[in-house]
Symmetry: C2
Subunit: 442 residues, 2 copies
């Protein structure tokens, strides 16, 4: 057999994921190079601060603080952007793609904010932008939607895309712990991002939902145009009552395509999900995605959504795809004028207004324990044409009570009006809290 | 944009899957051709008997009983072998591959029996042999192991690979039905293959296990060298007692690689599996596969394992990969001498002797309800160094009883000796029945 081609890889960033890529290529080099029919060499590793202690020792000649040694280096075949952030990472990704390079990334925030520009840059310069590691860590959801399910149009994609919030919800459920004390543990275990809002307010998972929506439907959705709510307000009693009713509470990304109306709904929020759904059984730090295609039916993928090894498994999978691409014909160069074609898949596709979301809801209402309270509340709901499906009441020691109700089908606007009317009602203490109920077949 | 290249596809066989491929390419043609950057034309459909009524009407010019119009036709870019069987299908696949063609197949029996020869033929002639649809229908398990998890070495792969037997076990569990009456229903629904042994004796799932073992470990295993047992002897009380102990009974394919001993264990048999395992929750006709890689950890894929649409989704995914291959460089031609390289991945890898399997077991023993029976049985087990973990006894109306026991860890040889000794014992009626207990972390 002829000598294997050498593929030269440059890493931008050498944190947890970068070092994982290095280690795992070394550990499984023999099997990997056999499968790829090529030799892999990480010839450049660029970091912000070379003096910072790192677990993996990089040979001196390959180690620098100079990103141009990767992005402007004609010897580098594959650029791995593993530095994160949307500042320098954006500049360097642009520069590499403008030179027709293949870029592999794990940077969900960057894709979510600048993906439209970056994918176009890749096409217009004969390069490529790979991003398996940006969504759901080690789960091959990008490859599955892009390649394995290429025959399908996607009616529904939903799932759990943030491991930290799932870990917190799981421990709250299993151990009856409060949100705060579980969060404390998650922090100690290093599960929570430095910017906690990413995990706790659903932003990280919403980034991923936006990427999946683009991949499946060719439409870029702005983060501020979609429902994005986190898990901070969920209490142990919400989880408990949901459990009694046959549900778990999960932070769900939901992407629904209505082909008749040519409408797309993308959202990220906690939801009551029936325990019969496989995704409801995805606990701890695991992620899970359910994809319903018009041909294949429903396929579910579950795995580790984060962590050094799982994420680097996905980065290496993208490197492998890049190697095959490098061994094949050069990518076609698409002119800027022809870019219009890439909007074709999403032709006329409209983002569904978030206010018009229809569904069932769970409501937690703190009330004074007075006669006739339930009747008053029921009347307020009736004004918005909302009726109870279930009612649970829990007496508190201070003489007040919590009402946990689920509703029949209604919509966002009605629920918002009801919450406002309830909080204005004398018997109601504070603001009622609502959680959407997820109905996959709706 | 330049005119899209036309890719010409020839179908060998136009049964359920072939017609599904036709229909689903037609239904989603626009999105599909956009994604592939090519036009797809099924220009030849070859059947055994043109007079047979079919749901899909093929234009006369494309319809024939002459396979050479596909396999010997230089205009055909992709050959889809969807006829099944290991006779004519083998001849035609050989002929097509010898001419360097790309062949897409759903034929698990053919790969299981002749895969080693056929993959080598593909490599030696610059063609390719794609087989996503041969294992687990619409679940992209081949692509996931081959590409998405390319960075990994696979310690454990296990799962449910036969939908019919899973359907039967699910209904037996949910409705307390007997094997025979559930089988009757499955037959009426058309779920059972004409050759029922394929579904009921585990042969279909064992074919798939052999293919996955090759894909993950590069080693071809003969069907008669592995444990292959079906579900015919499972009773409602086995399922009931297993349920009480926290298990479900599933027909599992199990592929374990011991990297230290360089040993591979491949087997297919009913097993008690903890309800905590995600795979235990895969019910009805669904399939599910759990893959544990040394880098990614455990990833689980669940979906439809059979049926026209799910299977054709996988065939079309292979066609898409073939299209990318056709648009790239021609495949390298590997000489026969260089073929040795392809055994490298499995270098020295030994198939574990099936007798040496170690594990826990469930035993159902029919006994006369006499004093001291349990002591006698316990003694027989003790002679083989087997101890009880749990014991359940069920009195029958005829004065006999059934003992359902689970054991601590032992091995195949010991269990076989125990079953023989038990059946020779005067207090025991008939042959004891055993089911292995699946321990993923063993």
């Amino acid at each position: 057999m002829s000598e294997k081609r050498i593929i030269r890889i440059g890493l931008l960033g050498f944190g947890v994921v970068g070092q994982g890529v290095w280690k795992n290529i070394e550990n499984n080099r023999q099997a990997l190079e056999f499968r790829l029919g090529a030799q892999l060499q990480i010839t450049e590793v660029v970091v912000r601060d070379m003096r910072k202690a790192r677990e993996v020792a990089v040979p001196e000649a390959a180690y620098s603080e100079d990103p141009s040694r990767v992005v402007d280096n004609p010897d580098i075949d594959i650029v791995c952007e593993l530095m994160g952030g949307t500042g320098l990472a954006l500049d360097l990704t642009r520069r590499a793609l403008r030179q027709g390079k293949i870029v592999v990334t794990a940077n969900k925030a960057l894709i979510c904010e600048h993906g439209e520009e970056l994918f176009a840059l890749a096409r217009q310069n004969g390069g490529h932008y790979f991003y398996e590691a940006s969504v759901a860590g080690g789960i091959p959801i990008i490859k599955t939607i892009r390649e394995a399910l290429v025959a399908n149009r996607f009616k529904l994609i939903f799932g759990i895309l943030n491991g930290t919030s799932n870990y917190i919800l799981t421990r709250m459920e299993r151990e009856g712990l409060s949100f705060d004390s579980t969060l404390g543990d998650a922090r100690k275990l290093g599960y929570v991002e430095a910017d906690e809002a990413l995990d706790l307010d659903g932003i990280d998972a919403a980034h991923k939902a936006v990427i999946l929506a683009y991949l499946a439907h060719g439409k870029w959705v702005k983060l501020d145009a979609i429902i994005c709510e986190g898990i901070r307000e969920i209490t142990g009693e919400d989880i408990e009552i949901a459990g009694q009713l046959g549900y778990k509470i999960k932070l769900l990304a939901v992407i629904v395509r209505d082909f008749e109306a040519n409408e797309l709904s993308v959202r990220l929020h906690p939801a009551l999900i029936s325990k019969k759904e496989i995704i409801a059984g995805v606990d701890e730090v695991y992620n899970g995605v359910s994809v319903t295609g018009d041909v294949v039916g429903t396929t579910v993928l579950i795995g580790r959504g984060a962590g050094q090894d799982a994420t680097s498994s996905s980065v290496i999978s993208d490197i492998a795809d890049a190697v095959f691409m490098l061994q094949g014909a050069p990518a076609p160069v698409i002119s800027e004028e022809d870019e219009a074609v890439y909007k074709q898949l999403a032709d006329g596709l409209v983002l569904a207004p978030k206010d018009q979301l229809v569904g069932r809801y769970y409501l937690r209402i703190h009330v004074k324990d007075e006669q006739g309270v339930l009747a008053k509340i029921s009347e307020i709901l009736a004004k918005q044409h909302i009726s109870f499906a279930t009612v649970n009441q829990k007496e508190l020691e201070d003489g007040t009570a919590k009402l946990m109700v689920t509703t029949h089908k209604t919509n966002e606007t009605a629920i918002r009006s009801v919450k406002a009317a309830l909080s204005a009602e004398n018997s109601v203490i504070g603001l009622p809290f609502s959680i959407r109920i997820f109905d996959p077949l709706q």
